[in-house]
């Protein structure tokens, strides 16, 4: 169990590469050159009186087709606030009709490797976290993060979305991806990162023997001569290096008994956020299972949406 003192006392050894911004500027520039080519298909089976549900897909890095669930308030034409919901490591992307019922369009992204975005890239679970980690150009998360960034592009392309009201949230890997995506795309107005994964890789893999971080420990045991190289790659994908680049309000939720993402590492990202940050600690809660978390996340975002969301 972590205490608040443990969180404050923890100092990560992760440093930011000198060419961090240059690398990501290059990735974003490359993405801009790929047509979004989005397709939106109404799903009557999943639609309700208050939510029109669509299966969507769009193009991302390496021209991969990325799938998402898109729930839009019904009836009405908008423009609506929109929330980009980023997925956990191995969980399915959630179809969030509840947001549509609150007057908010919700896009839930199945990043590459997840069904049904796995046709051309499928390293598996376990597998994704170490796939191509020898080089920042080949690392799986270059694509995964690109898929999240393109989710912002999708929302910006939609006539029913208020482009000035785009929000982002997710838990676990989705929490880490929320920090990363919000650091890269300043169109996002506020975000909530729950139980954030992808923070402080070197410490996380040492602090725990649980997956997914243990994939990195397995990698280190199997390829000791490549560890330094891999850790250098991971600096480009560590959420603590994106946190200072976030310009909007951001809330971070941390479970103090988290056995998957060490609480200290989420806090390390939190403390690097701009002053418009908020921390919520969930005592006696483990990874992803704080009962109060979903309501807190929704309320915090709705408060930022103001009167726009009902």
């Amino acid at each position: 169990m972590a205490t608040e003192s443990d969180l404050v006392a923890f100092a990560t050894q992760v440093t930011c590469p000198d060419d961090f911004d240059q690398f990501w500027d290059g990735v974003l520039s490359g993405l801009n050159g790929i047509p979004l080519d989005s397709k939106v298909t109404h799903d009557p089976l999943r639609s309700t009186e208050t939510a029109s549900v669509y299966q969507v897909c769009y193009r991302s890095l390496d021209d991969l087709e990325i799938f998402g669930w898109y729930a839009v308030p019904a009836p009405g034409d908008g423009p609506f606030p929109a929330v980009l919901i980023l997925p956990g490591y191995k969980s399915e992307p959630a179809l969030r009709r509840d947001w549509a019922g609150k007057g908010v369009a919700a896009l839930s992204v199945a990043v590459r490797g997840k069904l049904p975005s796995s046709a051309e890239f499928n390293p598996g679970y376990p597998g994704l976290l170490t796939h191509g980690v020898e080089d920042r150009e080949t690392y799986s998360y270059k694509g995964v993060i690109s898929d999240c960034v393109r989710g912002v592009d999708f929302l910006l392309s939609r006539p029913e979305v208020d482009a000035s009201q785009i929000y982002c949230c997710g838990s676990s890997q989705g929490g880490g991806l929320t920090l990363i995506t919000t650091g890269l795309r300043h169109e996002i107005k506020a975000g909530v990162a729950g139980y954030p994964f992808l923070c402080c890789f070197p410490e996380s893999m040492r602090m725990l023997r649980s997956y997914p971080y243990d994939e990195l420990s397995c990698y280190a045991r199997a390829y000791p001569d490549r560890v330094e190289q891999a850790l250098d790659t991971l600096r480009y994908f560590d959420a603590v290096n994106f946190a200072p680049r976030i310009e909007c309000p951001m809330a971070v939720g941390i479970a103090m008994e988290d056995e998957v993402c060490p609480p200290e590492t989420g806090y390390a990202a939190y403390r690097l956020l701009n002053p418009e940050r908020e921390l919520r600690l969930f005592p006696n809660s483990g990874h992803g299972n704080a009962h109060a978390y979903p309501a807190w996340e929704a309320a915090w975002l709705q408060q930022r949406m103001g009167a726009t969301a009902s």
């Binding site: 999943r46 191995k90 399915e92 997840k114 069904l115 649980s210 809660s285 009962h291």
Partner: protein
């Protein structure tokens, strides 16, 4: 082509008959990458009914057996975890998948949402019924594999995994304990109530689109109503439920199921589908360790 079973008893009889005529053809391959200093991890493949080739993660502690075994039945999702529990240092652990999940998806690839209603207009085509056969097959495979000698067997799982664990304990003898977290109410009339969240809400979606199918859906899913087979579960059961669960194991169902089980300790928490979360995780871990006679 087999005919559709007309009753729960006929369904289970047919399931057993189909498994009996399917040679298991077990293969075990040690995974050097994921094996640890204290235990080996294996990739296990075997056959189930309907021509499905299934996958399981399988871990064996270092040292001389026999070892107790913990089987973690798969939940409702495409991925079933690699071996994860702290008990892996002292017990054989098997995480079997069911047809349609990742690594067991040659013939059918399940969608989430989607699997809960895939083919639900007939018992012959309802894909999810096969998951129950696959759960029984997993225990048979655990007992037949030659890698390690097995002692006491405990089952665990959450959601669908909990329902599969209870079904297995009802249809296989010699199970020492079952830890069932928020068992999915599939098969019970509770699951067909309108307004439930996913995954049970998939049934509501289907019935909203096809309201005339209510009787058919109720009949087909009732083949695997946990309350129907609960009386056959001889093992002690530790069950968790969340008081506000409206998507997986509504409290009224949890209480009815607990009452139908001969030996059940139901713990109700102030939560939803996560059940008791971390708090119950501690209770469950200690309970399973005690039942298996190992330290955590």
């Amino acid at each position: 082509m087999t005919s559709a079973p007309s009753s729960s008893a006929a369904f289970w009889e047919q399931t057993e008959a189909q498994l009996a005529e399917t040679p298991p053809d077990i293969t075990l391959e040690r995974d050097a990458f994921y094996s640890q200093p204290e235990w080996d991890v294996f990739r296990m493949h075997y056959n189930s009914s309907g021509g499905h080739r299934l996958y399981a993660w399988f871990s064996v502690p270092h040292g001389d057996g026999p070892f107790p075994a913990l089987v973690r039945m798969p939940d409702y999702g495409s991925v079933h975890d690699i071996i994860y529990t702290p008990l892996r240092q002292h017990a054989v652990v098997m995480n079997p998948t069911y047809r349609g999940q990742r690594n067991s998806d040659v013939l059918v690839r399940a969608a989430y949402p989607g699997l809960l209603t895939d083919g639900i207009d007939s018992a012959e085509t309802y894909t999810l019924l096969g998951a129950y056969a696959d759960a029984l097959r997993a225990i048979d495979i655990l007992r037949e594999q030659q890698q390690v000698q097995i002692g006491a067997i405990a089952l665990t799982g959450a959601g669908l995994g909990a329902a599969l664990a209870l079904a297995t304990a009802a249809h296989r003898s010699g199970i020492a304990a079952v830890a069932a977290d928020t068992p999915m109410a599939l098969g019970h009339p509770t699951a067909l109530q309108p307004g439930l969240g996913y995954p049970l809400g998939e049934l509501g979606d289907y019935l909203r689109a096809y309201p005339d199918s209510l009787e058919t859906v109720a009949g087909i899913t009732s083949l695997v109503d946990p309350i129907g087979f609960a009386g056959s579960v001889q093992a002690p059961v530790l069950m968790s439920a969340g008081r506000f669960d409206r998507s997986l194991c509504p409290l009224s169902f949890a209480e009815a199921l607990a009452a139908a089980l001969p030996d059940c300790d139901l713990r109700v928490y102030e939560g939803a589908a996560e059940g008791g979360g971390h708090e119950h995780g501690q209770v469950r871990g200690a309970w399973l360790a005690e039942k298996l006679g190992v330290s955590r």
